[in-house]
């Protein structure tokens, strides 16, 4: 395995079988079908990168994270972390990874934040003064020092998430797995947490991060690479910018036009171009033009047409198409079914 590759998934599948229910057969009722949480997933994560793992509920993100964390085993295929097999070398892998989930129940509610962190630091192998120093440093790093002696149950959702991050950082991990770490946070707290993660990778370039989220703006903000999961399949693994480029993620020029005659509006709509028109609340309409290599000429022609027709351009801005739109197009094919995998493996497509 290439030294740069921290995680490699090869044709990984995870099937959950329903619990045996002989009485169903006895009464002629059908057995519930097995659930394929992951199907033939190939993926690589490299040092120094933050991989965004996105997908709808039930897409298989958490299962994938747990497989890498050695908390569950693949039904098919192979998971390698640091070149070690996740089933046979799980203890060696666990010493080098950190996992933070959005599950608030993963701490002892009667203990303070400091007591919780001290306990986990000790079972991770530190003792005495080293434990105190490590715990203090991490509480400071995640900006929890002032709340450290409050019982966990009294901490806010944001601070609980910070504590989960601090615990994940205890072993100074080479691989940090973050399962929806910002799920219950307000936008400000989520932004601060993302900054913490970005800082971590900047200051520790040997470290890799896998970050699962529903919020694609976060991926845009934080990740260079993204893996898109849908119904257990990885339909894209590659650069965020490549994803935009390949799946219609062009920037768009948006014009807000006032008093544009209906005839001209109809003319623009029937023009067969890439223009998109939308009626706004008042008499204004919004016109969107994709940014392409020759969009300058198209924009010139459009503005000329609007002005000559007596329309007034009151606002003009260029914006990136939201990543959400790009991923939605990727996840749901034209017929509403998921598309076939298009970019797999760890290639920096």
């Amino acid at each position: 395995m290439n030294d740069d590759v921290v995680v490699r998934l090869e044709a990984v599948g995870k099937r959950f079988l329903p619990p045996p229910a002989p009485w169903r057969a006895l009464f002629g009722r059908p057995q519930p079908p097995p659930i394929d949480a992951l199907r033939h997933v190939d993926l690589e994560v490299r040092r120094g990168e933050i991989l965004g793992l996105v997908g709808d509920n039930g897409a298989g993100k958490t299962v994938l994270v747990k497989l890498v964390a050695t908390l569950t085993e693949p039904s098919h295929g192979r998971v390698q972390v640091f070149g070690l097999d996740s089933v046979h070398a799980s203890r060696a892998i666990r010493a080098r990874i950190g996992l933070a989930t959005c599950d608030e129940r993963s701490f002892y509610w009667r203990l303070t934040a400091r007591q919780n962190l001290t306990f986990f630091a000790q079972i991770y192998g530190t003792s005495g003064k080293a434990t105190r120093q490590r715990v203090d440093a991490l509480l400071h790093e995640v900006d929890l020092a002032e709340q450290a002696d409050r019982p966990y149950r009294t901490l806010s959702a944001g601070n609980r998430q910070r504590l989960a991050l601090a615990r994940a950082l205890l072993p100074d991990p080479e691989l940090l797995l973050l399962d929806e770490p910002t799920r219950s946070l307000d936008p400000g707290a989520a932004k601060r947490l993302r900054a913490l993660i970005a800082d971590r990778v900047r200051l520790h370039p040997h470290c890799a991060v896998v970050f699962t989220t529903h919020d694609l703006a976060e991926v845009d903000d934080l990740c260079e690479r993204v893996a898109v999961l849908t119904q257990g399949r990885c339909v894209w693994a590659g650069g965020v910018s490549d994803l935009r480029r390949r799946f219609g993620g062009d920037d768009v020029v948006t014009l807000r036009v006032r008093r544009l005659p209906a005839l001209t509006q109809a003319d623009l709509r029937s023009g067969g171009s890439a223009l998109a028109l939308r009626q706004l609340g008042n008499d204004d309409i919004e016109v969107q033009l994709p940014v392409t290599d020759d969009h300058g000429a198209a924009l010139h022609a459009l503005l000329t047409k609007i002005v000559r027709a007596g329309g007034e351009v009151v606002a003009c801005q260029t914006a990136r198409r939201p990543l959400h739109d790009v991923c939605s197009a990727l996840i749901v094919g034209a017929d509403g079914s998921p598309p076939e995998p298009r970019a797999q493996g760890g290639s920096h497509a």
């Binding site: 995870k14 959950f16 079988l17 949480a37 299962v63 747990k66 964390a69 050695t70 908390l71 569950t72 085993e73 039904s75 203890r91 060696a92 666990r94 010493a95 990874i97 996992l99 989930t101 599950d103 608030e104 129940r105 993963s106 701490f107 002892y108 509610w109 009667r110 203990l111 007591q115 306990f119 986990f120 000790q122 079972i123 991770y124 192998g125 003792s127 615990r167 072993p171």
Partner: protein
């Protein structure tokens, strides 16, 4: 070994802090011991002089030692499964299993506080009986301790088997329900096994608790020597030698199965 002691210490401190955070419960648990000992005293007054119990110094010493050892039995029996179940309920089991620890270390360390607490409670039982009701303790304390350790190991192997059931089926552990109840009834905690019909006595001697109680009572209340307690000593050693490795293998398999099925956190 140093790693194990450090981990055990971390778990003990954690559990002590949590126990102390429920101060009223902590105090009431200790107070309950005095109520039990007093109840045994008044029972012994009603029972009076009984030929079977005379060699133990009467009913109170017999039952006080019985209760103290039964506490260990209960701790060995259910502390592992309860510890696993508690971590599942807290949602902390995955966090513990993510630490680079041996599974055996996690299981033993999770139960450490329960054994420490049981030692304290059992000591209070015996002390209360000695101080308040003047019962006499005899015999070699090292031998008694050795018997107690073997008894605990034999109980613990059943306890780890019980935890394996909890890991896979979450509730409805048949070992805890059947063997636990039968052991308390037939093991001779509250009355001598000789009071049972012959065929039930044979069943009773298939249980580790019966040998544990026989041995410890013989040493502590009758001043028996190593030679006198050879039979229970060997029986307990056999239970432990077979039970401990077998139960650990079962527990490893149970955890692997829960990991494969993705049910570690289910309860």
């Amino acid at each position: 070994m140093r790693d194990f002691i450090r981990t055990l210490r971390a778990f003990l401190v954690r559990d002590a802090l949590m126990a102390l955070s429920y101060r009223l419960e902590f105090a009431l648990q200790l107070a309950t011991v005095f109520f039990y000992v007093s109840a045994l005293y008044f029972l012994s007054q009603i029972i009076g002089d009984n030929a079977t119990l005379a060699s133990y110094g009467g009913y109170l010493p017999f039952a006080a030692i019985g209760l103290a050892v039964a506490n260990y039995f209960q701790a060995g029996f259910d502390s592992f499964s309860k510890a696993i179940h508690r971590e599942q309920l807290h949602g902390t089991l995955e966090a513990l299993l993510l630490a680079p620890l041996r599974l055996t270390t996690v299981v033993v360390a999770c139960s450490g506080w329960r054994f420490l607490w049981t030692t304290l409670v059992s000591a209070v039982y015996v002390l209360a009986a000695v101080v308040l009701y003047d019962i006499e303790l005899k015999g070699n304390p090292v031998l008694a301790f050795g018997l107690l350790v073997l008894t605990t190991l034999a109980f613990a192997s059943l306890g780890v088997l019980s935890a394996s059931f909890v890991m896979v089926w979450k509730r409805g552990d048949p070992i805890g329900m059947l063997l636990g109840g039968v052991s308390t009834l037939l093991g001779g905690v509250f009355f001598p096994v000789s009071a049972l019909p012959d065929w039930l006595q044979r069943v009773a001697y298939c249980l580790p608790i019966t040998h544990g109680l026989d041995g410890i009572r013989a040493v502590v209340l009758q001043g028996a020597s190593l030679r006198d307690v050879q039979t229970p000593l060997l029986a307990l050693a056999a239970f432990a030698a077979v039970g401990v490795p077998l139960s650990l293998v079962c527990f490893h398999r149970a955890v692997r199965r829960a990991q494969r099925e993705g049910t570690l956190l289910h309860f």
